[in-house]
C-alpha cells in the first residue's frame, strides 16, 4: 500500500495526550527500533505492527491499565481508518 503522509502527525497528536513534549521522541524510538525506518514514513500497517511494542513500552511507565488501553485504542482506531 502507498504510505499515507498524514499518519505520522496523527500518531504524534494521539501520543501527545499521554507523553506531552516527549511524544515525538517516543514514537521515533519505537519506529526506529522496531521497524528500522524514519518515523515520518510510518504507514498504517507499520503502526498496526508496533502497537503491541508501544503497549509494552507504556506499561513500563505506568500501572494504570485504563490509560494504557485508552492510548492503544486510539492508535488502533487510527491504524484501521
Amino acid at each position: 500500500m502507498v504510505a499515507t503522509p498524514a499518519i505520522y502527525p496523527k500518531v504524534i497528536k494521539i501520543t501527545h495526550v499521554y507523553l506531552g513534549p516527549a511524544a515525538d521522541r517516543f514514537i521515533a524510538r519505537q519506529v526506529q527500533n522496531h521497524l528500522g525506518k524514519q518515523p515520518e514514513l510510518i504507514t498504517r500497517e507499520d503502526l498496526a505492527s508496533i502497537i503491541d511494542w508501544i503497549g509494552v513500552a507504556v506499561s513500563l511507565l505506568t500501572d494504570d491499565r485504563e490509560i494504557i488501553e485508552e492510548y492503544l485504542n486510539g492508535l488502533r482506531k487510527l491504524a484501521k481508518q
Partner: protein, 312 residues
C-alpha cells in the same frame, strides 16, 4: 546571567562527592576540640560533647545524600534530552539543583572549621561569624538565580505565562517574608549607632543591609518566582504521564526552595553563636533540613520518571 559550568564535580559522581564531604565532616566533628562554651553550658565532658554532636549531625549528613541523589537524577535526565528544545533549560536546572545540593554541606563544613579556629583563637570569632554568614548566602543565591533562569526558559519554551493573580501572590509572599526578615535582623542593631559592629553579626548596619539583607531578598524573590513558574509549568504541561512525573519534580523543587528559604531565614534572623546549642534554632534547622531532603528525594523520583519516558 552567564551560565557557569558545574565543573568542580562534573567529572566525579555526585554521590561519591557527597560521601567525601560527609566523611570529611564527620571526621572533623570527631577530631576538632570540644567547644568550651557548650561544655560549660550543658555540663558535658569532651567525649559527651563529641558523641552528642555526632548524633545530631549524622541525620543531617543523610539529607546531603538525598540532595546529591536528587541532583544526580536531574543531571541524568538533562543529559538524556540534551539535544532537544528543552535540553539547555534542564541542563541549567540541573546545575542549579547541584548548587543547591552543595549549599547544604559546604556552609556547614566551613562553619565548623571557622568556629573551631575561633575556639582556639577567640580574636577570630567575629571573622568566623561574618565569613560563615557570607558562605551561607552565596551558594543558595547563585543556585536560585540559575534555577530561576531555567524556569523562565522552560515556561518560554512551553509558551506558558504566569497569571496576574499568581504573580501578585508571589510578590505578596515575598513582601511578607522580606518585611519580617528585616525586622528580625534589624532588632539586633542599635539604629542610633549605624557604624557600630557591636551586634551578633559583627557588621555595621549599612554593610548588613547591602551585602546580606538585599542579596537574600533578591535570592528569595527569584527562588519563589522560580518555584511558582515551575508549578505552573507542571500543571499546564500536556501529557498525562509526562505531567505526572513533572508534578512530582515540581513538588520536590518547591519543597527544596521553600526549605532553603526558611533555613536561610533561621540562620540569619537567629544569629549564629559559633558553638553547638540545643535550642529551638537547632530543632527548626533540623526539621527544615529533613524537609529539604524529602524535597530532593521527590525531585529524584520525578526526574527518574521523566528519564524513563526518554528511555523506553
Amino acid at each position: 546571567m552567564r551560565q557557569v559550568n558545574f565543573r568542580a564535580l562534573r567529572s566525579v559522581h555526585p554521590l561519591i562527592a557527597c560521601a567525601v564531604l560527609g566523611i570529611l565532616y564527620l571526621l572533623l566533628v570527631s577530631i576538632f576540640p570540644a567547644n568550651a562554651d557548650s561544655m560549660t553550658q550543658y555540663g558535658w565532658s569532651s567525649t559527651e560533647y563529641h558523641t552528642i554532636y555526632l548524633m545530631i549531625v549524622i541525620p543531617m549528613v543523610a539529607t546531603w545524600f538525598a540532595a546529591f541523589y536528587g541532583y544526580n537524577w536531574v543531571r541524568s535526565y538533562a543529559k538524556s534530552i540534551e539535544n532537544t528544545a528543552e535540553g539547555d533549560s534542564y541542563r541549567q536546572l540541573a546545575n542549579g539543583v547541584g548548587w543547591l545540593a552543595l549549599s547544604l554541606p559546604v556552609p556547614t563544613i566551613a562553619s565548623l572549621i571557622l568556629n573551631s579556629i575561633a575556639n582556639a583563637h577567640p580574636g577570630f570569632h567575629a571573622s568566623a561569624i561574618i565569613i560563615s554568614n557570607y558562605i551561607a548566602l552565596i551558594l543558595p543565591l547563585f543556585a536560585f538565580a540559575v534555577i530561576g533562569n531555567a524556569a523562565r526558559m522552560l515556561t518560554a519554551t512551553a509558551s506558558i505565562r504566569i497569571s496576574l493573580a499568581g504573580a501578585r501572590s508571589v510578590i505578596f509572599m515575598f513582601v511578607l517574608l522580606g518585611v519580617a526578615f528585616c525586622y528580625l535582623i534589624l532588632k539586633h542593631f542599635d539604629l542610633g549607632s549605624p557604624a557600630s559592629n557591636n551586634n551578633p553579626y559583627f557588621m555595621p548596619i549599612w554593610i548588613m543591609l547591602l551585602t546580606i539583607i538585599v542579596p537574600y531578598l533578591y535570592a528569595w524573590f527569584v527562588g519563589l518566582l522560580a518555584a511558582y513558574e515551575f508549578s505552573v509549568l507542571a500543571t499546564k504541561t500536556r501529557g498525562v504521564l509526562f505531567s505526572q512525573a513533572l508534578k512530582l519534580f515540581a513538588l520536590g523543587l518547591v519543597t527544596v526552595i521553600g526549605s532553603s528559604i526558611v533555613l536561610e531565614y533561621i540562620s540569619s534572623a537567629a544569629p549564629r553563636s559559633g558553638h553547638l546549642e540545643l535550642n529551638g534554632r537547632l530543632l527548626a534547622t533540623y526539621v527544615f533540613r529533613i524537609a529539604a531532603g524529602i524535597g530532593f528525594l521527590l525531585i529524584a523520583q520525578g526526574a527518574r520518571r521523566l528519564r524513563k519516558i526518554e528511555e523506553v
